[in-house]
Symmetry: D2
Subunit: 338 residues, 4 copies
């Protein structure tokens, strides 16, 4: 039976495989489970025969030489860290893949929910109602706006941006996309308008930030960026707190320039006395956009399906492959908590 | 110039016409504005020459006889009341129309926002975060579910049901529709599954109530109906409070059987000490789903466009016509407040 | 049992009802079948009790007075003729309905097929291949064009125009619509661009004529209209031959200005020696676009469903109602042949 | 300036670059143009400095060693031949890419046109009309069927299959896909039903063959396969003649079992006396589905865009990369003619 080394921490096999999927995995493969830190201590036959690794353990050049049958590393945390000799992996034709696309849909659904909340004041209106200070009908809607027909900007157009685009389609937005890694025609073909960051910032009623973090873009949404936004714009931060200067964002909210919602924070959890906890016109989501059981189980399905393709001598398809050109640029912070 | 009698209360012309649209209206038509209660006192030439009425004043048979040129009554409140001799209007080929479809999209957008909030706990999570008792990541998502792929039921499939269906499309729901006034094939053609009320109630993860009120269906969602729902189902009430036994609904929420959100209430405003104000797993919206300035202005556009059609000798198209067969069944309560 | 008078000629009950649907009809209703010309000779109780007529017999005022229970006339030929006292029907609240929408989809499918044929030369290339004079690859495609991204014009936006629009959607055309009976915003809401006839004629790569004939538009596509079209435009005539000056159309084809396809002809059948039979760059379809068994059976389903609604005291929904304002303008020629 | 070696035969730079795109290419890069057979004779500095090759010349190991700066080979013919040491290319991280996806849309549009022609008899009806033997209306439609609601099978689900799927969407087919290189869930996510080859063959009203040829599937649609098809099924062959046993296909047509259309033939051109030229119920297209000027120019755009990405140190995106696992299996025959 084909050998797999499983060292998925902080994930666990139970987290990412539905019970029946885990049974399938165990019936098809000979699985050596170990702590990520102990992989080098695995028996020599396990190392030499393992075709796949499920996990993202640190692998140095010496260890890689012992992994003579390795074909694919499934990084189930989802962020590529600088803990493997990727050049050597590429040379040997070993894939490193991430099933992070499973989070795109749950994050997009929450993102749409947050946008509708900002545009219609759902949370604030409920809170007011609880506290006997609600207003009724038109009077409560002085700042409410439709999403339909709005000018919407996406900063980033990877899996998450595309998932949001699909959910937004029936709202017929004027959709502008800023993504410096994509040719314009790719965005045009997808039915959106490629735009500069400045245009997205200054011409949008609703802005979704869905860009990953690289060594080149940390904190690129700074005070200047927030200063470009329209009065009353709705800003939704879904990907990584490192994309924004967090204080600049909260200042822009506090000043009344924008409304905002965020699923990610510079510290998680945030300190108990942090002023963001009381910030008006701001919706807080404690990094809960992607971490649904449904998403983790889908990750297990992706892994099983790609294992089957690899077993047939085909390349993996459901998980996303690390790219030789960009692997060293990726800097999204791995999670410590599922 | 063609004469119009304008008696739109509780609406006003300023509410339903954008300033430029109102200028257009005034430039094209000779408008007699009066209180609804004073219409019978209008000068005889106004009554005999008026082709259109904007408003829903009480019209008795005598008054109707004096309105010899009347072609169309634009009921801009939106609910058909028992205050006109409809039979005689139909006989004379006078249209009575309602532009209530303008509210379908804003209500549908809010409805989707409420559904996403119930499924993902947006409001509750924000409140917890404010109060330093938030949980992070997977731990906070124990009851969270995707809308994508969910079983969704629509009770009613008029303008609002159709607008919701369009917004739901990218979520690829298994969508069931109960609407006793529509042939099955109409629903099938629209891409949904016609179903009995029982099936919709018992087989849905998310239920939207978007049915109008007739003399036949008041309170049809009673304790028995809520008892059929799935444990943990999300119930969203968007059309009329009279569709439900309100106490049965809040009991079902209190017992933990369902989560719910409502835009309509048996009394508006609700008493300050009403227990619904503190009800957990319930999102309150103070009849704010439809009453957006954008919707009222669209109403004015519909009226202007249908006036232009009528002026050309064509039937109205943007507003919905009262039907001879059903006008007497309609019992949705008119609003007193915009 | 509710009585129906059936006099559907040139249709027959077998043509429009699938065997099981006809059995349903017969089990639910007491049907008096007669020739259209003999309806006045029906027994008095049949006339006085008949709630519905399936067919479009001539009905004069005297006969109508005897039809005391009549609620709806199902004109299953589909064109409204000047053979009933429509004013009196409207006054009495008797619906006259046409199930002609059943032809929209089959005609739209053929229309798309004809457009693709004109753009890619399918018929001509097959004929050349049969005759050993085909050219291969790029050489054979000197005039071929994609439909995707083309500028497309619809003349008329009724059921057929809408059906075509749906089929064209994935080609992402720039779609312009000319329809003088519709407000601009109706077309905009449908996702197309309202345009003048001149703009549609002069700015389209592909033009579909799908307008019905009224007393006002006979022959409105004349030599001047064809003179406005783009060199090489594809013109597809689907609705009625009377919409065009047929000779002007064939002249425009013969001169090399346009390519065309037509499903309708000024005489049907056309004379054996008519030059249109040999016209190059022209595709001939002998009024076969709509007349599919599937469409006729759908007509029967529509009739059964609307009967059920009427039986419940609701207005018909699947068939289209004649309008008091426009019934006298309709001039599309009835068919003699199914 | 970055160096490119251009040896695109049988393509030419003029064929694949619109004049302005070619000017852009020439302004950005130092281009060495030569015959594919002469590449080894290029000056040593050209070989050592060339970052990109546009073309698919034979490259042996020795030549590859001299191409020390090479990053990407743009195979603009589109089929991967066994004329390069791919293993060594992969090891060095040199991409080999094909812009063949540009043909997907033109082929899909023609494929849909052929399907509508087979279902409605467009070509046959036109020919009959020319020859004074047409039938009119329903009589001519005895075998006509709607595409809407039909059971449709796709054999292969690469770029072409996906493009067809998009065009077919408004017809709401029951769509089954057979593609042994794709996990089931990939097809399910795309909104189709994964199926075995047998199911696709035996349960479809319309079958599109859009699979590429590998060393494993040559002639897999043989007499047995055609024997499984439904009486009257429409079979459309779009990808490669080698996918079918051509004689088995024409026998199935001749026997009246199926109707078929094909864009590809075992010999191109076919012999003048080949019986397929007179085959009834068969539509012939002389390999004209993809070779549109619009498609070739799009190829040039893809190349320019991917060059820009590669220049930025990013991987190519618009063209499809050869895969280490499958490159040796590809056996679609290169074209000799554009």
């Amino acid at each position: 039976m084909t050998r797999i080394i499983a060292a998925p921490e902080p994930r666990t096999l139970d987290l990412i495989f539905r019970p029946d999927a885990l049974a399938t995995l165990r019936s098809r493969y000979d699985i050596h489970e170990c702590a990520a830190s102990d992989i080098a201590d695995a028996p020599e036959d396990v190392l030499s025969e393992a075709r796949y690794i499920i996990g993202q353990p640190t692998i140095d050049a010496t260890l890689l030489d012992r992994l003579t049958s390795l074909r694919c590393v499934f990084n189930v945390e989802g962020n590529l860290m600088d803990n493997m000799p990727y050049d050597r992996l590429f040379e040997r034709g070993i894939h490193t893949v991430t099933p992070g696309a499973v989070f795109a849909l749950p994050v997009a659904e929450l993102g749409l929910g947050l946008a509708l909340d900002l545009l219609r004041g759902i949370t604030d209106a409920d809170l007011a109602f609880r506290e006997n200070r609600e207003t009724w009908g038109l009077e409560s809607n002085r700042e409410a706006r439709l999403l339909t027909g709005a000018e919407v900007g996406l900063i980033g157009y990877g899996d998450l941006g595309k998932a949001l685009h699909r959910l937004l389609a029936p709202f017929r937005p004027k959709l502008r996309v800023f993504d410096p890694w994509l040719p314009s025609s790719f965005i045009t073909d997808a039915g959106a308008e490629p735009a500069s960051l400045e245009t997205v910032l200054s011409e949008s009623d609703v802005i979704f930030t869905v860009a990953g973090i690289t060594s080149q873009n940390r904190g690129f949404l700074d005070a200047g960026a927030f200063g470009l936004m329209r009065q009353g714009a709705a800003f939704i931060l879904l990907s990584r707190a490192e994309a924004v200067d967090f204080e600049a964002m909260t200042d822009a909210v506090r000043s009344g320039r924008i409304r905002a919602a965020s699923d990610v924070f510079p510290e998680e959890p945030m300190p108990p006395d942090h002023p963001v906890r009381n910030l008006k016109d701001f919706i807080r989501s404690a990094h809960r956009a992607g971490a649904l059981t449904q998403a983790f189980y889908l990750m297990g399905e992706y892994v099983l399906e790609d294992l089957a393709l690899l077993d047939q001598g085909l390349p993996p398809l459901r998980c996303r492959r690390a790219e030789r050109e960009t692997v060293s640029l990726m800097r999204s912070k791995p999670v410590e908590l599922n």
